[in-house]
């Protein structure tokens, strides 16, 4: 026995059918489950040139290989499809309990094709799977819809259902919308919500109670027990948060260095990702003023985003399925300014940065409200923040008039105008309508392309390539461009990948400027990082597991115990390489030119910044670094297309002949 159910659910909304199909073991051996299984299936089954918002696109929901085995930090579920934002590979993932719910229905993944004429939801309880009328839930925000489905279905289900659904942004086909679960926690990127909306699929409701398979559950649990005992003892004294602005300034001047992965655990247990905001502003990691500003522009902002201040609003921590860290929390917003909503999830760093320093917005209260507004609408805060930043810069430079912005005075830090614009985007009202499809479309309509920060159509995550050139490589070499979750230099310093992979270079203490150079070592580092992240995604693992390093979160040992295999790290890294190559082949099949993904000039250092930790920093070797990264993967160094010998070496030619 392995951890795989061996079955997938294939739903066709065109005719309302749902069919269970078996997947041969060699597919799982090659790509695991999660994003790997999705890459294999979507590459094979979405025809070239398919309309992302049409019936030929397939929307996939998948759990990872380790989900349900007792392995910690393996509760991520991944949504994948052809992205309407980039025209190529699209995926997003999220935590919660939806991943085990997929497996408890007896499936590793659910693939939804076709378009329904009327709003529907998919219901599956492990015995039956059916497409049901969702007209009663259409028009509700994600949290309202989830609550309404629970009210209707909990009393008639033996096992409490899990719900993943779109909010109104997905219904309105916003190209920057995502899929939500557990009260607005969102798989946000790549426009996956618009694809779900285009299919008129409001929700997927899962209420199965099947046992989840595992080869050696006792061995898996022993690994988790060892990790859990360490983590439960880890806590920081309170009160450090106020010093993070200063800490960031020091970090900005420090060299790159190997780090202990336990640092990430301490940070995420104490604050969640939100701790990074003041650090990022002063260290050069976080973008300021639409990626063109410096810490001087953001003077006074770090104290507003003091993580201890946010923690004081926290009423309760919560954990994703199988997570001993618990970075999530509920915040009480009653009595706060702009408090249209009484509570919200503790915002992620990405949201705080996107609507705080990126816009020079000093109002934490407004960002907390925007967090809830966008979570409920099901709109990506990263993409939305970048788009609002573009609008402000256009307005400040006279490219947009007050008439065009529906009377909004879109100036830096104008909290009221920012809030009003976000509401307009969510409702697709007036000026907000064009912005609801992201910054690329908005700039094509109104101009100001030089202020539109996107890579291949997708807005970048809130980390600056000038500070972390390895991230810059991933931003453009990643088949879903602009994602910040594939690799970073800082992460690599904590992962200790060289201890499981024979070809991964060790992390070293070195001057940051060395990371801007095109070297074979750098290419192997970015390749190793991407391969390990893809492996993690196939396993359903959390990025925090990656950040802990291989000695704390023992992915290789977990996989061998869960599957009954005896493979070494090199073998598993090749699985990650295969998944990444399949995703790149997906883009090639869909006519997306990998070489067309480019960092915005601003992120390359043109014009260069005049002060702060990134003063004068440029990335002249960035394109050469990308070419070297492609070459390390066995992809053409000029075009980024996987070479035939690479496809053969990874067995992808045989794999794509396997049918279900």
């Amino acid at each position: 026995m392995t951890s795989f159910t061996g079955r997938i659910l294939c739903v066709d909304l065109g005719n309302g059918t749902a069919e269970s199909r078996s997947v041969p073991p060699e597919v799982y051996e090659a790509v695991l489950a999660g994003k790997g299984l999705e890459a294999w299936y979507l590459y094979k089954h979405i025809p070239a040139g398919a309309d992302p918002l049409g019936p030929e696109n397939i929307l996939a929901f998948a759990a990872g290989a380790l989900c349900g085995t007792g392995a910690f930090l393996t509760g991520r579920w991944t949504v994948a499809c052809k992205s309407p934002l980039t025209g190529g590979w699209g995926d997003a993932n999220c935590g919660g309990v939806f991943a085990p719910a997929i497996k408890q229905c007896g499936y590793d993944a659910i693939f939804v094709s076709g378009v329904s004429e009327t709003p529907v939801y998919l219901f599956c309880d492990g015995k039956t799977a059916e497409v049901r009328d969702a007209s009663a839930y259409w028009g509700l925000d994600a949290t309202e819809a989830e609550n309404a489905l629970h009210a209707d279905l909990d009393p008639v289900c033996r096992k409490k259902p899990c719900v993943a659904c779109i909010g109104t942004a997905g219904e309105k086909l916003s190209l920057i919308s995502g899929v939500c679960n557990e009260g607005g926690r969102i798989a946000a990127r790549s426009g996956v919500g618009a694809v779900m909306g285009s299919k008129r699929l409001k929700a997927v409701v899962l209420a199965g109670a099947r046992p989840m398979p595992c080869h050696d559950p006792e061995a898996v649990k022993a690994l988790s027990k060892e990790l859990g005992r360490k983590i439960v003892k880890m806590s920081l004294p309170s009160g450090f948060g106020g010093f993070f602005g200063l800490g960031g300034r020091m970090m900005g001047r420090m060299p790159a260095m190997p780090m202990d992965g336990s640092l990430a655990v301490y940070m995420f247990r104490e604050w969640g990702t939100q701790a990074n905001t003041p650090l990022a502003v002063t260290s050069g990691d976080g973008p300021i003023k639409n990626w063109g500003g410096t810490p001087k522009d953001a003077r006074g902002l770090p104290p507003q985003y003091n993580p201890d201040k946010i923690n004081k609003l926290e009423t309760l921590k919560y954990h994703c399925y199988s997570c001993p860290i618990g970075c999530g929390g509920r915040l009480d917003l009653r009595g706060r300014r702009y408090a249209a909503y009484p509570e919200t999830h503790k915002p992620e760093y990405e949201t705080l940065e996107s609507f705080g320093p990126l816009l020079l917005n000093k109002s934490l209260d407004s960002v907390l409200q925007i967090n809830e507004l966008l979570n409920r609408a099901g709109m990506d805060t990263i993409s939305a923040g970048n788009t609002v930043a573009w609008a402000i810069e256009c307005y400040e430079n006279g490219l947009l008039t007050k008439e065009q912005t529906d009377g909004l005075e879109l100036t830096w830090g104008n909290t009221e105008a920012i809030l009003a614009l976000v509401r307009k985007m969510v409702d697709r009202e007036g000026f907000g309508d064009a912005l609801a499809d992201g910054v690329k479309r908005a700039s094509e309509r109104y101009g100001g392309k030089e202020y539109a920060m996107h890579i291949g159509g997708q807005e970048p995550g809130m980390h600056d390539a000038r500070n972390d050139p390895q991230l810059g490589v991933h931003f453009v070499a990643e088949p879903a461009p602009g994602k910040h979750t594939v690799g970073m230099g800082m992460e690599y310093g904590a992962m200790s990948l060289c201890d499981i992979c024979s070809w991964a270079p060790p992390a070293t203490l070195h001057a940051k400027k060395k990371d801007r150079e095109d070297t074979e070592e750098m290419a192997l580092i970015t390749k190793a990082n991407a391969c390990y992240t893809m492996l993690t995604d196939g396993a359903g693992g959390c990025l925090y597991g990656v950040m802990m390093g291989v000695h704390m979160w023992k992915l290789v040992d977990y996989l061998n115990a869960a599957e009954g295999w005896d493979y070494d790290g090199d073998h598993y890294m090749e699985i990650g390489e295969r998944i990444q190559t399949l995703r790149q082949l997906f883009n090639v099949k869909q006519g997306v030119d990998p070489a067309s993904f480019r960092l915005p000039r601003r992120m390359l250092g043109w014009p260069s910044l005049s002060s702060g930790p990134l003063k004068g920093v440029t990335l002249p070797q960035h394109r050469a670094q990308v070419s070297s990264h492609w070459r390390a993967f066995g992809w053409d160094e000029k075009t980024g297309v996987p070479l035939p010998e690479t496809v053969k070496r990874l067995g992808i030619d045989r794999l794509t002949e396997v049918d279900v």
Partner: protein, 73 residues
């Protein structure tokens, strides 16, 4: 019939036991402290428990044991 009993001292709030329950008799509803952190822990939230022991078998931290209902403390 045996029912789950929890030794919260070793609980890491991972929710594996609650999700393993086939009848949703367990929920992460009990509020308490984990070190300095205010956190959630598993508890029986209704009378639906069928005594199957899946929660105890799933828990990696050996927090959950099955005991006769009368012995549960």
């Amino acid at each position: 019939m045996k029912k789950p009993v929890f030794d919260y001292r070793n609980c890491v709030s991972c929710g594996i036991c609650a999700q393993a329950c086939p009848v949703s008799a367990l929920g992460m509803k009990k509020e308490g402290k984990s070190g300095k952190y205010r956190n959630v822990f598993p508890e029986l939230i209704n009378d639906d428990c069928i005594g199957c022991g899946q929660c105890a078998r799933a828990c990696p931290m050996e927090v959950v044991t099955m005991e006769e209902a009368g012995d549960a403390g």
